[in-house]
């Protein structure tokens, strides 16, 4: 790894860690229902909104009521987003006159954006109207992130409360998370992105006269019906426009990842330079990191939050180092052709296929690692063209369950489930009843934890197995050999973890993939959420046990090691066989001669 690669990591970690305490405290205030300083107007708007909705903000919900409200709210979101796409041809703000996407594509997109996945089987700049992007896709960027936050907060309340029947009010939680946390931060980040060159307008697409005409082969059909290549010369280039920055900021801040353009954050209008790249990475890491502090604060012991964050950061640095090393080393097949891949003062070197010069190896691999340990799935370089091990890291990031920072909210609640499993394993080893934060961990919590953890590998591996067994699945593959298997495995891993990134060579805009991945995405999101809320309800009802000499501390290095061990063990045991068939065998083939 180059000094620049370490330096960029240090810079990102420094700015993120500085924000953890202030934002964590702020979110705790917001979610505990305290008035937000400087937002008196917000309080008045809030009470008007609750009256309009028929909500009593003081009424608390049990876990079943909370889960039902969450499911209904998200299901309505899917229906609205589906309708919006299918009707966009008749609706305003569609200057390019796009028609409706196909039914299976619209279904996939709707489910995908509501679940914080943002898998995109369509090409945005030639599919979605400005209205669909703004009032459909971007809205779900906010609401799916808010949904993640409220589930995490409900679980924290379950740990913090005792002998209680309720875990909060879903309507109030989702409103406050959106209005007081996501909206103000997204606005500031959006404007900062514009200052760096991210576009924000409602113009028609722009016609550019090229400096030098370009000649290229265009497939065409002859009068006899045969296809042939015709040489065409053009002098123009069309530049897409649109309200990009407002969507870009919440796309990263909410760990959503759905790009305004097909190339996502590799597109210069989404991510124009190294500063915007740093800002976008900061936006991704910000809320998941700060929520660990919110957690510690709300359970009354901030060391608990720091311990969870430390476990996350240790894994993050390790994963980044592997990915970065593999990409910086470059492709031996290109070295053999006399191509220079060594880093120097004049180039970043390394494997540059699918990467942008302005990000180089450091900015590309840090982004891809961060985007896949969280549930973001935004890409500023094409993972499909990574070296076998470099591309295995994003895959592995997701397979670990996206608990290293993880999605907004979902990362924390998934990590806390691993913590529960960790103390259970430790309890078995020393022969004591496991407890976490003064709550006894019993059969019901363990059953629900097992469900929350095992749903993902189950649907990912089943989905992959089906796709490689049927022609409709295999036909989508773009690259030959084990890499093709990796493409399918990546698609289902991404869907099952609500990530949304892809080995994008795969042709996934087919009824088979749109439907299969749409189902996997839905199950991967809401099955674990219901299990987590059940745990929250059960923990809230328990009495708090006082700390005794036999209590295992859950804030020290031993616990951090235990937590990391649990995450790696579950992820590794489940997925190593599948990884061996894909990236690992490809790596051995590439470096054997």
């Amino acid at each position: 790894m180059t000094a620049q690669s370490w330096g960029l990591l240090a810079l990102l970690l420094a700015v993120t860690l500085l924000a953890v305490k202030p934002l964590g405290l702020y979110m705790a205030r917001v979610m505990e229902g305290e008035p937000v300083p400087g937002l008196g107007l917000g309080a008045r708007f809030e009470s008007w909104l609750y009256r309009l909705s028929g909500v009593d903000p003081a009424a608390q919900m049990g876990w079943k009521h909370y889960a039902l409200a969450l499911l209904v709210f998200n299901t309505l979101g899917v229906l609205l987003l589906y309708a919006l796409q299918r009707l966009q041809g008749w609706l305003p703000l569609n200057p390019q006159h796009f028609g409706p996407p196909s039914a299976d594509s619209a279904f996939n997109t709707a489910v995908s954006f509501v679940t914080n996945t943002n898998w995109q089987s369509y090409t945005p700049e030639t599919t979605m109207s400005y209205l669909t992007q703004m009032t459909g896709l971007a809205v779900q960027n906010f609401l799916s992130a808010a949904t993640g936050i409220v589930v995490a907060v409900a679980l924290i309340r379950g740990l913090a409360r005792h002998s209680a029947k309720t875990i909060g009010n879903f309507w109030v939680d989702v409103t406050r998370a959106t209005l007081y946390v996501l909206l103000p931060i997204a606005t500031v980040i959006a404007l900062a992105l514009v200052s760096q060159g991210v576009i924000q307008n409602f113009s028609h697409y722009q016609q550019v006269t090229l400096l030098q005409p370009v000649t290229y082969p265009q497939p065409s059909t002859t009068a006899a019906g045969a296809s042939r290549l015709q040489t065409v010369t053009t002098r123009t280039q069309t530049l897409p426009m649109g309200p990009v920055a407002s969507q870009e900021s919440i796309k990263e801040l909410g760990t959503n990842g759905g790009g305004f353009f097909n190339a996502n954050s590799a597109h210069p209008y989404e991510n124009p330079n190294a500063w915007s790249n740093l800002l976008e990475m900061f936006a991704i890491a910000l809320i998941p990191a700060a929520l660990t502090y919110t957690f510690g604060f709300m359970v009354g012991d901030t060391r608990q939050g720091w311990a969870v964050l430390a476990a996350m950061m240790i894994m993050f640095v390790g994963l980044y180092a592997v990915c970065n090393h593999s990409e910086q080393r470059g492709n031996p097949a290109l070295s053999a052709l006399g191509v220079s891949q060594l880093p120097s003062a004049q180039q970043s070197g390394g494997n540059m296929e699918g990467k942008e010069v302005r990000f180089g190896i450091a900015g590309s691999t840090l982004f891809s690692t961060l985007s896949t340990v969280t549930s973001t799935g935004a890409v500023n370089s094409m993972h499909d063209s990574y070296m076998p091990i470099g591309g295995m890291v994003p895959l592995l990031d997701m397979m670990l369950g996206e608990v290293v920072l993880g999605g907004v909210g979902s990362g924390l609640y998934s990590m806390l489930i691993f913590a529960i499993i960790g103390v259970f394993i430790a309890g078995l080893m020393i022969g004591r009843t496991p407890e976490y934060l003064g709550k006894k961990i019993e059969a019901f919590e363990m059953k629900m934890s097992a469900i929350a953890i095992l749903v993902m590998p189950f649907i990912v591996l089943t989905g992959t197995a089906i796709a490689v067994s049927v022609a409709a699945g295999r036909v989508g593959v773009a690259n030959p050999g084990p890499h093709g298997f990796s493409e399918i495995l990546y698609a289902f891993t991404s869907a099952g973890n609500n990530n949304g990134s892809a080995f994008a060579g795969i042709s996934a805009d087919t009824p088979f993939y749109n439907t299969a991945l749409g189902i996997v995405v839905w199950l991967g999101r809401f099955w674990p959420i219901v299990a987590v809320l059940a745990i929250a309800g059960s923990l809230a009802a328990k009495k708090r046990i006082p700390v005794s000499a036999g209590t295992m501390p859950t804030h020290g290095p031993t616990f951090i090691a235990l937590l990391i061990g649990t995450v790696l063990l579950v992820g590794a045991l489940t997925f190593v066989p599948a990884l061996a068939l894909g990236p690992i065998v490809e790596h051995l083939m590439l470096w054997s001669h």
Binding site: A10, L11, L49, S53, A69, F73, L80, E125, T135, A138, V139, W171, T175, L179, T187, L191, S195, Q196, G197, N201, Q206, V208, T209, L211, Q212, V214, Q218, T234, Q237, L239, P240, M241, A245, A263, A266, H267, P268, Y269, W275, L334, G338, V339, S340, Q341, A345, Q347, G349, M352, E353, G354, K355, V357, A362, G363, S381, S385, P480, H483, E586, L590
Partner: protein, 190 residues
Amino acid sequence: MKTILRPALTLLLVMTLITGVIYPLVVTGVAQIAFPAQANGSLIRKNGRLIGSRLIGQPFDSAGYFWSRPSATSPQPYNGLASGGSNLGPTNPALIAAVKARIAALHAADPGNRAPIPVDLVTASGSGLDPDISLAAAYYQAGRVARARGVSVRQVRALIAAHARGGELGVLGTPRINVLELNLALDAMK
């Protein structure tokens, strides 16, 4: 059920209005006042005609211009309506074949130059619209551009040095140069 449907529907619609309409309109309004050039695409105009964007690359293949990176967009390279990469895997024979063809094209345009070719000049970018090449890739092409233009290599190298960027905060930017701006500067050089 009604106690759930009513708040769900009301909140969904109000939130759509706030985050889907008011929020982007406010951001657009402020952006258009505070950063109009950036918000509208960092466009470059010459004699009233739109000739490009500082942020979006253009294809070049004549000897007298610096070449941009290969672009995998289809059907034409640097197609603004179809951003994306090749998605060729590292062991795909099609990747090796494409790189060989690009090397051959560079050698054909500059037969005397047998220096190692900087990797970004023979690999397709992620967006297909990469506006930059590495400094190494610019210096690699300096001899060919100078000969085709009938100017000295020293002049061309000085131009590269004047347009070079990178190293923000020591760790941020990579060493790079904007190809369109460099080529416009070449055209302006007398």
